[in-house]
Amino acid sequence: MQVNETFTPTIVAFCCNWCSYAGADLSGTNRLQYPANVKIIRIPCSCRLNPMFILRAFQRGADGVILCGCHPGDCHYTTGNYYARRRMTLLFSLLDFLGIERERTRVEWVSAAEGAKFAATMNDFTETITRLGPNRRLEDLRCKEV
């Protein structure tokens, strides 16, 4: 696939309040660079992520959606991320089954101490989505017209 130099993707990152959001904060205080087009939405726990949120992010212009939460075993609520893991695996598989590019969605576990991992993950994910190009298969044209 040809790399689209002018395309700047919109990335939505759902971050759990306890680990990944703090990880994002740490990457900021450490002055690590990650693309400004990553929009972070804080959620109380990775298992709060309703599949509807992901689809609606795509509807409203996201080109990639990533979920970040505490590492398995480290969930603030003990088990939330284990449920999230099953749900996201299944949802992503269903999206794949419908022919949506499977690399457009991702789950990554980022702890509060992993500022560097957060920045690296966002850089990598943005690069992947830039390579994939704009989201066409889950877009809603009504949201693109001005």
């Binding site: 088990t79 449920y83 099953r86 749900r87 695996t89 992503f92 269903l94 499977r102």
Partner: protein, 324 residues
């Protein structure tokens, strides 16, 4: 079979075991039966039927009916009993108010299957062994019973009747089927081909909600798509996104609870193979989290309400299986 169903229903009412019977009522034609509640043996003898066209799964009506005064008898085919158990597991049915009669099922036929064979103007039908003699406005046609089977019955997963108070016919067994064959065929396609396939199918959707309203697993009091506060309420798919959204969420919301009864595809007025979405999820859960059949028992924890420390990461999907 028809006679014993009717006689059982009539005697349950006459002996006072129940005050109402939930069964299938005859219609204008041989195939257009309607689920109905009968309150007297006389009504039962007059209008109740059990034919190869009684496809409707009656278990969902029990959510409301089992909350009414008095006991209700219900007739359930094997696949309907899976829904019956699943609904109890979710505490949606008051079991003590239900007298469940399991009816062994030879596989249900479908008028759409007859029409797909090129038959027009169906006016009558008689079963003779493995053959259906169908009267049409354009003469009589003989059809092998197997060709008239509805789509879901061609991949029947089980003839086992679960949690019944009485059984008509014999208790059956779980069957080995190739019900995932079409899911596998789709998986073998490229993402582009799959996308094209589903666009073609889902763009036919008229959002009549028949798939949702008939589904025994869809038993929310207010659906998220009907709730003005949900932000996704819609009465029509105003864009291709909304077509996808509804069907993705509908399938996902019943993941781990769907018994694969196939009602969604049976009722779709636009003939969209909706069961494939549910079967894909069932197949994935079986592969990833161990084989599970919703409604097969009361004990096993549904996969979406459970986890193990060793569950695979979502990256097995997003990074591609088999290093694709």
């Amino acid at each position: 079979m028809q006679r014993s169903v009717i006689e059982t229903a009539a005697s349950l009412l006459e002996t006072g075991v129940c005050t109402r019977v939930l069964g299938w009522k005859t219609g204008e034609f041989f195939y257009d039966v309607t689920p109905a509640v009968f309150t007297s043996a006389e009504e039962v003898r007059k209008d109740m039927v059990f034919t190869p066209f009684c496809g409707a799964n009656l278990s969902k009506y029990l959510i409301a009916e089992s909350r009414k005064e008095g006991k209700i008898a219900v007739f359930l085919k094997p696949c309907d009993t899976f829904s019956f158990v699943q609904l109890q597991k979710e505490h949606r049915i008051c079991r003590e108010n239900v007298y469940a009669v399991g009816v062994q099922c030879p596989g249900m036929s479908d008028p759409d299957a007859l029409k797909a064979l090129g038959l027009k103007g169906l006016t009558g039908c008689v079963q003779e062994g493995d053959t259906l003699r169908v009267d049409t406005l354009y003469g009589e046609k003989a059809v092998p019973l197997a060709d008239a089977l509805s789509l879901r019955c061609r991949g029947c997963k089980s003839k086992r009747l679960h949690d019944c108070d009485a059984i008509i016919g014999t208790q059956g067994k779980d069957l080995q089927t190739s019900r995932f064959a079409q899911v596998e065929a789709l998986e073998a396609m490229t993402a582009e081909e799959r996308f094209a396939f589903w666009r073609k199918e889902l763009s036919k959707c008229i959002r009549c909600n028949a798939c949702r309203n008939v589904c025994p697993a869809c038993s929310c009091e207010t659906c998220v798509f009907d709730n003005p506060d949900s932000g996704v309420q819609n009465k029509a798919a105003a864009s291709s996104f909304e077509e996808n959204l509804f069907h993705i969420i509908r399938a996902f919301h019943v993941a781990g609870r769907c018994t694969d009864c196939g009602e969604c595809t049976r009722v779709c007025p636009q003939h969209i193979p909706l069961h494939l979405l549910n079967r894909k999820l069932i197949k994935d859960m079986n592969t990833l989290y161990g084989v599970y059949q919703a409604g097969a028992d009361f004990e096993t924890k549904p996969p979406m309400l459970a986890f193990t420390l060793e569950d695979p990461e979502a990256s097995i999907i997003t990074q591609g299986r088999n290093g694709q």
